[in-house]
Structure formats: structure tokens, C-alpha cells
Symmetry: D3
Subunit: 250 residues, 6 copies
């Protein structure tokens, strides 16, 4: 027997939002003076600083294929959270959660990049969480898109690329089942109580780049997936607007 999905009127959310309402979103492009691309994204109290570094070589295993590469690293500052998180540098290996997240970010941004058009270049996206109140991995994807865009724009302005090799915009949100309610863009207080947790990355054409749904509690019915995708589509639509504004100012 799986989780119960509430029908009808849900419970009030911690911060008074409606179930399918995002937190306030701000994206500050070009936040860092010395990086090829950068953006600070804030979703409520969650703040992630994203930067893009252009390397004119790809990793050894893909040289000579004429295609580019996009990858990501993710980390949390020690006091981004209520209790301090030890730096990974002191233990000598990234945590499993970190690795899982940075692989996710890399896949999502590659999913909208035209790697042939990019040519043999690598873009490394650094996503550093300044403050964490839930949804840091999805905020990182949304913000990294802007940092990536700025770096690629620079390559076109320097006439190293004829046009920006991005087929679509990509943005991501979380959707979770909390006390039987399906909530969009969970803050930490909601996330820690969620029975089912989804992260969805979509394009501005309404297609999917990545879909991850997991339970730490009970299994969930197949039909929940459709509802989750509908909520995610609403959420990402707003994020594409915030990205458009940020990019417009570059």
C-alpha cells in the first residue's frame, strides 16, 4: 500500500503560498567580475552563486570528436545551513549527494546545448550554495543556464562562435507530496517532511530534460507522475521569464 494523495482542498503552506506557487525569484547576471559567465539566483531564502568557465580543450577521452562538453560542480558553503557542514576538502572525497547533484546539473545543461556547434570546448559550471532553504539543486540548474548563456555570449562577441549554441532554455523545480498535498518548489521545512520528492528539468518548449522521482517513505501511484509534470510546467514557465529578464540585461 502506497502513499495517500489528497483530493480537493490542501493544507496551508508554511509560508502561505498556494500549492503551485513558486517562491520569489531573482536572478542577478554577471555577479562575478572575473568569470566568463555568472549569476546569483535567489529563490526565497535559497541563494546559489553560479559561474561558467570556458576551457578551450575538452577532457582527453573526447578529443578529436569535434564536440564540446558541459559539466558542473556543486558545493555548499559551510554555514549555508542551520548546522555547519564540514568542507569536503577536509575528508578527501566529495559526498555521494554532492556527486549526484553535480552530475544532474551537468546532464541538464548538456541537454540543451548543441555540442557540435560549441566545438571542442568545455564549459565548467560552478554552483556554490551561499544559503540553503530547499531546492538548491533545481535553483542551481536554473541559475547555471544564465551563467552558461553569458559565457557563450562572450564567445560570440569575441567572434569565436557565430551564434549561441543553445537549442532551448532549461529550468528546474522541485515538486513534492507533503501530507498528501502536491506542492511546487518546496522550502526546507516542507522538503524534510515530503513523502515523495521530484526534481524536474524542462525546456521552454515544454519538453523534459530530466525527471527524478523518489520515495523515502511508501511507494506512490503511477498517476501521480502526470500531476507532478503539470505542476512543474507551471513553475518552470515563471523561471523562464526570470531567465529572459536576466539575459536581456547582459
Amino acid at each position: 500500500m502506497g502513499v495517500a494523495v489528497a483530493q480537493g482542498v490542501g493544507n496551508a503552506r508554511i509560508d502561505g503560498r498556494k500549492n503551485d506557487e513558486l517562491r520569489p525569484v531573482t536572478i542577478t547576471p554577471g555577479y562575478l567580475a572575473f568569470a566568463e559567465g555568472s549569476a546569483l539566483i535567489e529563490m526565497g531564502m535559497t541563494k546559489v552563486l553560479c559561474s561558467a568557465t570556458v576551457d578551450d580543450r575538452v577532457p582527453p577521452f573526447m578529443r578529436g570528436e569535434g564536440k564540446g562538453w558541459v559539466t558542473a560542480e556543486y558545493a555548499m558553503l559551510p554555514r549555508s545551513s542551520g548546522s555547519r557542514i564540514a568542507r569536503e576538502g577536509l575528508s578527501g572525497r566529495p559526498r555521494g549527494r554532492t556527486q549526484e547533484i553535480q552530475r544532474l546539473i551537468g546532464r541538464c545543461l548538456r541537454g540543451v546545448t548543441d555540442r557540435e556547434a560549441l566545438g571542442e570546448r568545455a564549459i565548467l559550471l560552478d554552483c556554490d550554495v551561499i544559503q540553503a532553504d530547499g531546492g538548491t539543486r533545481t535553483a542551481a540548474i536554473t541559475g547555471a543556464y544564465v551563467a552558461l548563456y553569458q559565457a557563450l555570449l562572450g564567445l560570440t562577441r569575441n567572434r569565436l562562435l557565430p551564434s549561441i549554441p543553445l537549442a532551448h532554455r532549461v529550468a528546474a523545480v522541485s515538486v513534492g507530496l507533503v501530507d498528501g498535498d502536491l506542492l511546487l518548489d518546496l522550502c526546507y521545512g516542507e522538503d524534510s517532511r515530503a513523502e515523495v520528492d521530484f526534481n524536474i528539468a524542462m525546456t521552454d518548449a515544454g519538453e523534459l530534460v530530466e525527471l527524478q522521482g523518489a520515495t523515502e517513505g511508501a511507494p506512490f501511484p503511477r498517476k501521480l507522475v502526470e500531476e507532478v509534470l503539470a505542476s512543474a510546467e507551471l513553475g518552470t514557465a515563471q523561471l523562464f521569464e526570470a531567465q529572459a529578464q536576466a539575459i536581456g540585461s547582459l
Copy 2:
């Protein structure tokens, strides 16, 4: 513009299977003499050795809650593949892919375990890939279930538990889009060419425990998800039978 999904008749598969046909499955329970639970699962040429270790303590951060814990480790033998994979022990840190997979396996098995009924015990599931021909993570989930079952059966036989604290069976399969065809249970030759790749873990009640879909190529349409879930339900149905036979012989 996203991936194209073929309509109608698909292409022939590498090994002649139908699009929604599993590879031959064999599960040998109790493969290891010295482990509390174990199973060798073979899906075509893929072979994963799963074992379960019972620890009568949970990790420090969850002591005193009266609940159990289930976790997993995953590794590939160096020559499980066509080209040798360096042992992780020599670099000092598990690779990102490894961490992602072992976290997935852990979540799936926790998703069907009644942790209150298990009590303050930890079960560690080791999944070692003897031979890799695609689908090792999903085979690991399906095989680990049998190892876990055997270990818990031992606890009931030793009167440490009144009954086996598993709410459902769990099994997993991959489904992928290859040249526009949706294929069930990809072998390596198919997996390496897939445009979209899903891993789905379901219960024998037809509910979802984990759902992961990603593209390394182009974005994919929302409606693909429903087709993927239907194919996965067909595939896991057969796996539940193989599990039932394996468990029946213990």
C-alpha cells in the same frame, strides 16, 4: 526540438528480442556461504552478486528512533567490462556514478521496508558487478531484494523478528529510446546509443518506488513518460516471478 519517437513497427534489436522483452533472468539465492543473505542475478550476460549484512546497530545519527536502516554499496570488478576499470580503492574516492547508483539502490530497498518493524538494525546490501552488459543498477536492485529477503528470513527463523518487515517486493528495469524505439531492458550495445534513458523501480502492487529519466541527447516529450511506465510494468512483472521462485527455494 526534442527527440523523435517512432510510431508503429520498430527496428530489430541487437539480440533479436521484441521491444518489450526482457533478457533471460536467473536468480540464484544463497550464492555465498558466509553471508546472512545473498543472490547472484543474471540478466543475459549481466551478472551481479548481491549480499546482505545485518548489523544490530544503526548509524549514529538515527540512534534512539526505534527504526531500522537499509543502505547499499555498489562496485564493478575491474574486468567486468571490455576495457578494464581501475579499482576505486586506488584513487581514494568512489566515482560519482558509483555513488549515484548505490544511493539509488539504497532508496529503492528502503522504499519497501517497514523500518519501524525492522527495529534498530541496519542492513547493508553489497552489489558487486561480476560482468556488465548494461542494466547493472536495475539488476542490482532486483537481486538485492532477494538477498535482503534471505537475511530478514534468517532473523525471523532466529526469532529476532516476528515476521519479515517487507511491505512489497521491489524490482527494477531500464527502458530507453533507441533510434526512436522504446526498448525494455537495454543491453550495453543499446544503452550506449540511447537518446533517453529511464530506470524505474516498481512494487509488485504496480506502484512506483523510483523513477529516473534523463537525456544526454535532446529533450523528450511528456507523453513518453506514460509509455515508459507501461513498458516497465511489463518488465517488472516477470522479475517478480523470478524473485518468487528464488525466495521459494530458501
Copy 3:
């Protein structure tokens, strides 16, 4: 034969400052919502985010002595600089420079803390460089003081301490010899050309907490030290004002 020290009129500085002029300083106290103490310090383009974490235990080797401990960690975000710096987490050990700096920060803040009055508590100061344009270690000391103050203020407000156990304020600046001119508060463009490089931490009573002078070029005369200390005293006087304003707003 050592370095030549210019007499009389110096050369113009990169950014038009006078030789003994600081860059514009801003300290934003309480920058992080979830930390016991925090401050963002900006000196020109250099930005360091400092936080303070209170632990009610001291490290094992000093338990039972009735005294507190103050220590620091320091790191640079990968794109704080013009060329990307690899995360230390990936190599498994902090670099020598990092260790040298975090030990310096820790000593300076301990130097103004009344450890008996603090009692058996440890304060960990995290100094993360958001953007680096020279002088990050001295900015970290100056900013960490504010974060430490806020954390200790919290302890007094919670009646865990009767008063704030800080004997003095501490602030730090760099002074360097560049083309024979003694310059205060070097930016990166100056620092990279300096023949002699000093970092000085002083109290608001004009005493020294730490004094480090080194040459990578030629040896320097003893009398240079006095001139350096005079310049540092001018510089720290301004920093104490910025700290006072920041603290006043808490």
C-alpha cells in the same frame, strides 16, 4: 645587496589611490540568515564572506582546562579569480597556502579573545572568498572579527555569557614594497609585483597581534619595518571604524 626603498615622491597607483590609502571598505553584518554570526566584507573588488559557528565543546586535547578555542577555515570559490582554482575537495588535501592563511586567521582572533571568559566553547570562523583582488587574508581577519562579535553577542543575549569576551578589536592590512614605494592595502595587480610583502594584524589599542614580512625578491633593511608598522596603523584605524559601524547595527 637588498631592495631599494624609494625616497620622496612615489609612482601613481593602479587605481589612483595615495600610497597610504585603503580601498573603499564595506562590512555587511548578519549577511547569512542561518549562522550564529556572519559578515560580508568588501575591500574594493575583494569580497569575503565570514561566518561564525558556536560549538559548546572544545577539541579533545583541551577539554577540562576551562578555556575556549577560536579557529578558522579559509577557502576561495573556484571563480573568485580570473583563472579558475580547483576545489580542494577534489585533491583530498588543503593547499599549503590555505593552511597558512587559516592558521593566521585563527591566531589573530584568538589573540583578542579572553579564552577563560569564553569558557569551554569553540568558535569556528569560516572565511570564504567570493571574489579575490588581493588582500583576502587580511580582509578575512577584519570581517571574521564582526562575525565573531555577532556570535558572542548572541551568547550574551541568550544569557550564556555575562559579557562579550573580547579584550580588543582586531583588524589587518597588507603593506608592500612595489617599485620602491611602500603601499597600503595592495590590490592584486600591485601584490603580484611586490618585492616585499607584509601582513599586519593590530588591535584598536595600537598593539600588534601578528606581523609577517617576507621577500620573494631581495632581502630588505631593518628600518623598513618601522615604516610598514606606521602605514599599517593608519590603515587599521579606518577598519576599526568600519567594524564599529557594522557592530553598531546588530
Copy 4:
């Protein structure tokens, strides 16, 4: 005063074997489909999976000498034993015992390889213990020989070598002094009680490749060595037969 060596009739062995009797031996050559050479060796309950990987480069320090190299890695699966052994990947460095064993295996196989005839190629032998009931290092040597042979046979079949550059066969057994009895091929229950423990690697010409004898208890008389060598010669004779059968089927 050293150990006492029993004269005349010994005690019965745990599994009823005679003192100079091996456990049942099975070698399955070509166990792995994707490796250049492989063999599963079973000696009683001990099971070791050996594979051989051909690299057409030697390590940097021996390039240009025109000679080949043979080396080995050894590991135990976590549940090969009654109590779980942590993976070495998680601690960041191979244990001392592991290093000692893999160096032993490498030396033994090099001892029968004609390195000039092999040419500038490296063969890496992976020995993974599936199940451990004593004698895993000697089983690994005996099994690795078959994996090595298969890999070299492949090179001759592909006309990369004119003939197989192995001067002899090599096999290894343990001999130990347990309660004053000299026992051949110790199982774990015997090994853990042995006063003196030998591992001997011999060629099919009756010569020695490696001889290691150690006490964790009391010193032992020189004359014991001759008895040990006689027992080892009996044991390896049977192992050469098992190798011959395995190789004959390739």
C-alpha cells in the same frame, strides 16, 4: 624455546583430510566473457576470480628496455568472509595485507614469464576473492596462471607473439604447523590456529619461485623447512594437473 613439531601420527583435520591432502580443486577457464584471460579457481569453499588484462605499454620507468611486465591486484569482496570487510575504496588506501599479497602474486607470475619474449607489454592480473576459506593468496597465484596463459594464447592466435612466453607453470599452496602437525592447504579454521605459516610457489619442474615462512607464535627449527617443501611439492603436483586440464580446454 621454539614450537614443538609432532612426530608420528597427527590429529584428525577439521574436514577429515589427510595432512598432505589438498581440498577439491576446480579451475574454470574463460569465466569472464569480456576479459583477455580469466579463470575461476575453487579450492574447497575458497573461490577466487582471476582475470588478465593486456596493455601494449609498460609502466614509464621500464620503457625502452624491450621487456614486458606482469603485475597483480588482489581484493576481497565485502562478504567473502563471515564478517564483512569494508571496501578499500572508502578508506583511500589499500591495506598492508592486500599490498603484501598483490606484490607476492606479481612476483610469482613474473618468475615464470620470459619477459624478453613478451616484449614491451604489461599484463595486469586481477584476483578478486568471491569467497574466502583460507589460502586465497595461493589460490590466486594458481588461478592467475591460467588467466595469464589464456591472455598470452590470445596474443599468439592474433599473431602478436610467435609462442607463449611462459618458461614454466607456477602454482602455490600453503603449509602450516597446527598443534604440532604439518598440514597442507589450510582452510580458515586451521589457518587461524597455525603456529607457523608457509606459502610456497613452485614450478612444474620442482623449483622454487617464492618461499615465505613466518611465525606469529614461537620460533621454529631449521629442519622444518625441508618437510614443508616436501609437502608443498606434493600439493603443487596436483595443482599442475588441474591447470593442465583447464588450459587444455581453451
Copy 5:
């Protein structure tokens, strides 16, 4: 076909010694002022500094058994040899050779220690090679005995032990086959050309504690072992005298 063993008159040795002649041996006991036991052993140009540290706890896995433990660590100073050896601290893990040697030293010293009489104490023997000209591991064993003796003598003088819990003296030498000659106590120039290399640790009662013989070249005949043991007995006899003198002066 194995190695050829010369019959009759051998070749002259590099330094003019006879085949069964040791290099000049000096043992300076109490070389370090701050250690519980120490000795500098010099054999020709080989110099090893040994120290003994007494810990009044044994490792966790052997607590409560009422028995002591003796273990060793071994390292080479970077410029002990003609070409610099990188410090192991920089790579994060001891090399295989290092681990093999320190395990050997530990076994040899345990082999002559009455662990019941020692009681629940651990002695750690540090063997640091100041200069390496062959035979460092055997010199370390011989010197570590003196350091161990001094540390135990201190325990008896402090009335923590009624008598020194050493059943025998232990000393070790190398014996090698070089150009068909069996040579005692190889210097580096000989060792690097040896076809067969033995390390033997014996007691002053003429019994064996450890015997290791290996070939990197061709296999060797069984009868060589007896000759090796005879040579080793000659060599260790002289080492026992040097130990006796060193101990006599404490």
C-alpha cells in the same frame, strides 16, 4: 630451467668481502634522548634509526585478552638513496614495499616477545632509514631489537614489569644469489643484480622467526634453501654479539 648456482670459488665482491662476511656493524643504543628506547644501527653505509614507543593500551580489537602487542613502522628519508624518494605523506598512502617491510619487522619482533608477560601494552617500533645501501629491512629488525630491549628495560626499572619479556634475541640478514655466488649481507650494488634474494630472521638459539625467498629472475632449486640458512646463521651470530654489546652499555 632455473638459476645456475656456482660451485667452488666465487667472484670477488664489490667491496672485497668474503661471500659469507658481514659489513662492519655498529649499534648505538639510546641514540634519541626523548624516546623510551632507541638505537642507530650502521651496517656499512646503511644507517637505520630505530625507536620504541610504549603505549599502555593495545589496539581496540585485542583489548581484554591480557596480551601485549608489538608493531612497526618503516620509512626512508627522501635522500637516503642516490635518487630522491618522494615522501609518502604527499601521496596519501604508504607504498606496497613499505607496508610489506613494516609488517615483516613487526612479525619478527613479536616472534621473540612473550606477549602474556608484556601485559596489555603496545610497543611501536619506528625504523627510519637515514642512509640506504642495501639490507635496510634486516638492519631495521636487528636495530629494533635493541630499541625494544631498552624500552622494556625501562619498564622493569620503573617496576611496571618484573622482568624483560623477551624469550630470545632476534636478528636478521639478507642472503642473495649474485652471478651464481651465494653472498651474505648484500650491499645495494649486489642486491640490484641478485637473481634470488632471501631475508632471514633468526633467534640466538638458532631457530627461525621469518624466512622469505623470492626470485625476480628464474626459479631456484630447493637445495639452495639449506645453504642460505647456513650462511644466515653465520651472519646473525655476529649480529647477536653487536646487540649484546649495545645492550650491555644501557
Copy 6:
């Protein structure tokens, strides 16, 4: 309120020295037979073995600049002190103190080296503490100078350099404030009680190469710095004599 500096007659020192008196100094050049340069320096009970290794390549980041490099490594033998210090090799990363010291040694020796005249060569100075009774880092600098000199002398004798590219001699001492007395060359018993601790490296022309002053206790007045430098000048004068004697015998 800072530290109190005693006026007039001080307290007697632990070992009866006057406040500005060095411990007995001995430098044995060429202590190691196999190194390009070496020296054992003893200052009282403190003994540091220094060696110099010549590499005819500089690190990658400075190739092609036509300049040389001088760097250092520092380590303590485990029983150099009264309580054993774990080897850094076992933890996988050099300690902060170690890194701080080896960077200091490197800077000081670079400070007197004419890097253009040295050409594209790197000299690595290894400083291994045999026995530690305070002042190991300053002894290492003074001894490393002799090892460096010997290595460079060898290059001139081999006609690889026309002359020794050292502009000055460099030597270093500690000066500390203990119970209000300013003491030169602190032994461990003094160092552990010092309120303020300076390390000063000077040239034989009386100029400064490095100056480090820190308090773990209270801040100290600016005027103390002049007194410290005067004491250091007295101390280094004697060290330059010891260096001259050592070098004269090469």
C-alpha cells in the same frame, strides 16, 4: 591591554644561558653520502638533517622563464619529541604546521638565491628533524643553507655553473618573550611558555629575509619589534660563523 615587557634584570634561563645567548651550534656538512648536498645541524638538543637535491627541470608553471627554483620539505621523525608524532603519510595530508614551515624555509632560501644565475634548475631542500627541542624551523633554514651551498658547489665543480649563485648567506633564529624577558633561541621548555614568538631570517649583510611575530596570548607593543631584531642580529652573527666553518671544510 597587551603583554608586559620586563625592564632590567631578567629571570635565569632553564639551561643557564644569558638572554641573548645561543645554544651550542654544530654543523656537519656532507653528512649524507648519496645526496648532492647535506648538513646535520645541531643547536643544543635540536638536530635537523638537511639535504639538497638538484633537478634539472623546474616545475611546469615556470618553464621557459630561464629562472631556477628553490623549495623545501620539512618533517619530524616520529620520536623526535617526547611524545610520538604520527607520520603524515598515514593521514594522507601534511599538517598545517608542516606546510607553513616548509613554505617558510623555501622562501628564505629563495631570498638569497640568484634565480637567473641558477638557470632552469630546481633545488629541493629536505629538512628532517631527528630530535626536536625547540627552534627546528630556524635550525632547518640555517642548515639548509649549507646543504644548498654544497649542491651548488658541486654544480660549479662539474662546470654546470660558472659560480655559486648565492647573493648572501641566510640564517635564522627564534626570539621570544617569556615571563617578560626577551630570550634568544628558545628551547622547547621556553617556547611552550612564550607569550610572543618571533622567527627571523637575516642575511650576513644584516638585512631581513623573513620576519614572523605572533602572539597566542596578548597583543604586544610595536617597540618590541626593534628589540627582537637586535637580538636576532646578534644570534645570526654566530650562525654565519658556524656556516662559514662548515662550508670551508667542503
